[in-house]
Amino acid sequence: MDKRIQLLDAIRAIAVKTPMNDVEVPESVVGFGTIEYKAQTCSACKKCILACEPAALDMEDTLNMHDYLRVTVPQEGFRSKNREVLVTLLQNLKQDHDYGDVQAISVPEGLPGYGSIVWSAEQCIACDKCIEACPEDCLTLQKTYKLPEIIGPIEAPPPRTEGKDWEPFIVCFVCWECSHAAADLAGLMHLHYPASIRTIRLPCSGALEPIHIMTAMANGADGVLVTGCLLSECHYGGDSPKAGNFMQEGFVKFWSDIFEEIGIGGRLNIDFASAAMGIKFAEIVETFTEQIRKLGPTPIQAKTEVQE
């Protein structure tokens, strides 16, 4: 799972503030999420651990008493009768409803049959395999991304001062179907849009990998713009929800939310234009450049100074 680690490192490299909030994962975005674990029915069978390829799950010698006390045993009971009885008895013995100070307890060494799953947000690729493997329905996938936990604390870089002649430097990823044609058309039409934009051609907007966005940012871009064909008109997916532009729209939304959390909000955008929309393309670039101009230069310390 080197790729995931690479990506997270790249995010950490461009972060200028410690993220404080979890990020919602849009419906169309796969590979990111949170595995939620309910301890009370877990039989410590380790099936999920065996199923997990990136080794995001592990066993811990503790028992999560909080889960045991707060769970409501469903009408039909748990599949695991012993856990059901244990939960019922513990709840019965817990006389008050103050759960604040209920701590997880450790399982003595050498006592089989108990344990808790620990999940590492950093390594998880939200693939569902553990959920399928679990015989006791202990695991569910939540569409949130635990960014603060994953990224950890970030030291803010010193503020950057730029000369008066600063112009936003924007990297624009364009698909080589409609949106590239739109950019061409804008040129043919002699439309004016800011000169500080650099376009990079991709087969499809959906082919853009996040690491490229992060790399652009890390290397001094003040903003990243992604353009694709009009929605429902992707040359590779048409109106399928799996089409590149649909997918990338969700992803860019997700990455923008992450950018917001790490202190570089507003510097990523996606928009769509057909081959006939030269004017629209110029407008998209114009609007985004204006937005970046308002935000000012990127706070990220560039790894390498861009050669003028």
Binding site: M65, D96, L111, G113
Partner: protein, 654 residues
């Protein structure tokens, strides 16, 4: 029919128990009630024989089942029987409280009535045996076992480790006795063990079960072979190993320092004229065994008799043969108490500084040779062998016996035995006894034709998560994870129920002792108690059916009374108790739950004492975390030699 049969024990229990009231109050629970005066006598047994038919379920309220259980079982036609020890657990310990005692009897009889409803007939176990034996190690003990078993007509294969060289018999065993005795014994054994099949190689894998072990052998010629045997005997040897002071004594750096095992070679080479000064020392931090002590005495005597000046620096000299000590003194050996502090190499010889640490008195000796008492360590291949066979080792690295006091040749695994120095270094006589002991156990196992019956665990494949908790918990290798199944191996099973306590899901249930049976019984004891005794506090004692139960019986015999409201529930093993039964007890209102197990390291099933301590510790932690008093739950050992234990545990209530 559900029948209750009570015994008044020669009309004496009537003093402490109101039988009329019992008869009246449990009348609706049982379909018939009989009161007899002496069930254990022939007239009682005849009565039982006539009264109980095969389909009846029976509750017997009499003395402890430990005394009458077996004789009664022979005459009872039904297997579905529950015993209530009215005499030892009720009448004799509550002599000053007739009402309380009667109430307790009612609670226990009511509990037994529920218990019999859960009873199932015991399951018979396949005891087919392969009448062949594998011996590992061809030293004294190995040859003795081979000789014993061959004489009894049992086929024996003797496996010798690859480095084994039969010429070394004497050298390897010389610590065990004087060399002429040893030679004689080896000669005899070689004659009587003729016909044994010898194989040179190692064990690479073990599968199968006790009585039908399949052993994969890796021969020294590279061939793999699989043999089927009924039992395995490990008769590997001890090895001389340099003591911890070897480095300080320049062992290996100078020819003047040698091990005791090398001394005899040196002396044998010596000509009459060269008298040397030989300084022999024990390792002061190591406690010698008696065989090592005897060996030292024999060797130094031999050296002194050859005209050498022999000084022995020692702490304690351990020997079973006091005459060896005397012979050593007579031969002129000088014994000095103290520990060797420093050895320096000088031109004139080795200078050994001896110090009495208490008084800081220092003495120095300049000697020709410094001889170190060796430590007798297990054969170097012991650990890999034990790992392959799944055996435990003791602190010193020897193979651990199942139970040090009474089971000198049994290992943690059924059907695998140890003989001689595989257990600990021993002298010739003890090694021969140990070998014959192993032969006996094997022989008895192989000719066993009786029935082996018990309540066994049953695995529900549907509910099983294959979490391996039961496999991990089973002390007897009776549960194995094979493919997508947990497989039960009845021949290895000791019917302890530890697996059931470990199972998180209830995919494994014990015949006659289902989880529901425990929960129902615990609840009904509480209900009945509250009905009869109102708010009076009560305690539950979950006692293992071995030591703990015996201790509670002995409380009765020794007259160590305790308050009523203390109910003993017998578990096959304390390791079968899980947090569920303990919490259930608290939920139904018990003031205190005591889990009583065998003494530390003394569980009859090997691990129940330890496991029940863990379970209780874990339950206490749970209680702490929900704000309950953890001291209401306790694990403790009870043994028959401490009949006061029950008194102590249930005395401080309220």
């Amino acid at each position: 029919m559900k029948k209750l049969i009570l015994c008044t024990c020669n009309k004496t229990l009537t003093k402490w128990l109101d039988f009329a009231r019992i008869e009246k109050e449990v009348g609706s629970t049982f379909e018939s009630i009989h009161i007899h005066d002496a069930l254990c006598l022939e007239e009682g047994l005849t009565f039982l024989d006539a009264e109980v038919s095969k389909d009846d379920t029976v509750v017997i309220g009499a003395c402890t089942s430990q005394i009458i259980g077996v004789p009664l079982a022979e005459r009872l036609k039904s297997e579905l029987v529950s015993y209530v020890p009215l005499r030892e657990h009720v009448a004799w310990v509550h002599k000053d409280d007739q009402k309380g005692a009667t109430n307790k009897a009612l609670v226990l009889l009511n509990d037994a009535a529920i218990h019999v409803d859960f009873l199932e007939p015991q399951t018979a176990v396949d005891i087919e045996m392969e009448k062949k034996v594998l011996i590992v190690g061809g030293g004294i003990a190995g040859l003795k076992v081979a000789s014993d078993l061959l004489q009894l007509g049992i086929e024996v294969t003797l496996l010798e480790p690859p480095e084994f060289n039969s010429k070394d018999y004497l050298e390897k065993n010389q610590f065990m006795a004087d060399s002429s005795t040893l030679k004689g014994v080896v000669k005899d054994l070689k004659t009587t063990s003729k016909g044994v099949k010898k194989v040179c190689g190692t064990i690479s894998k073990l599968s199968g079960r006790a009585g039908l072990y399949s052993v994969s052998l890796k021969r020294d010629n590279g061939k793999e072979e699989e043999i089927l045997v009924g039992a395995i005997i490990i008769a590997t040897n001890s090895e001389h190993s340099p003591p911890s002071i070897a480095k300080m004594c320049h062992y290996g750096k100078t020819n003047q320092t040698l091990l005791l095992s090398e001394l005899s070679t040196l002396i044998a080479k010596q000509t009459a004229k060269e008298s040397k000064t030989i300084f022999v020392t024990q390792d002061p931090s190591y406690h010698d065994s008696s065989v090592a002590g005897s060996y030292l005495l024999r060797e130094v005597t031999y050296a002194a008799e050859k005209g050498n000046t022999v000084i022995v620096a020692h702490s304690d000299i351990h020997t079973k043969d006091e005459n060896l000590y005397r012979a050593a003194r007579k031969s002129g050996v000088i014994f000095i108490r103290g520990s060797l502090e420093k050895v320096s190499k000088k031109k004139k010889g080795l200078v050994c500084r001896l110090e009495n640490t208490l008084e800081s008195q220092v003495r120095e000796f300049t000697v020709d040779y410094l001889v170190l008492q060796t430590q007798l360590k297990p054969w170097s291949g012991t650990r890999p062998l034990a790992d392959t066979l799944g055996l435990n080792l003791d602190r010193e690295g020897f193979i651990k016996t199942r139970y040090a006091k009474m089971k000198p040749v049994q290992t943690s695994k059924r059907g695998i035995f140890i003989a001689g120095n595989a257990k600990t270094p021993m002298n010739l006589n003890d090694a021969l006894a140990s070998a014959s002991n192993a032969s006996l156990e094997v022989f008895k196992n192989l000719i066993a034709d009786g029935e082996r019956k018990g309540w066994i665990p049953v695995v529900d494949e549907e509910l099983c998560d294959l979490c391996d908790a039961c496999v991990e918990a089973c002390p007897n290798d009776a549960l194995r994870h094979e493919g997508d199944l947990i497989k039960h191996i009845p021949m290895n099973c000791e019917f302890c129920g530890i697996c059931v306590s470990a199972c998180p899901t209830r995919a494994i249930e014990f015949q006659s002792h289902s989880k529901d049976s425990w929960l129902t019984r615990i609840e009904s004891i509480a209900t009945k108690h509250k009905k009869l005794e109102g708010q009076k506090p009560f305690s539950l004692v979950y006692a293992c059916s071995e030591c703990a139960n015996a201790s509670i019986d002995q409380a009765g015999f020794a007259g160590k009374g305790y308050p009523t409201g203390s109910y003993v529930i017998q578990f096959p093993c304390a390791g079968m108790v899980s947090p569920i039964e303990i919490l259930k007890g608290l939920v139904v209102g018990a003031e205190k739950i005591i889990v009583a197990h065998c003494p530390p390291g003394g569980c009859h099933h090997q691990t129940g004492d330890h496991l029940s301590e863990l379970v209780v510790k874990f339950t206490q932690d749970m209680l702490k975390s929900i704000g309950q008093d953890p001291s209401r739950v306790k694990a403790t050992y009870m043994i028959a030699a401490l009949p006061n234990k029950m008194q102590e545990e249930v005395a401080h209530r309220g």
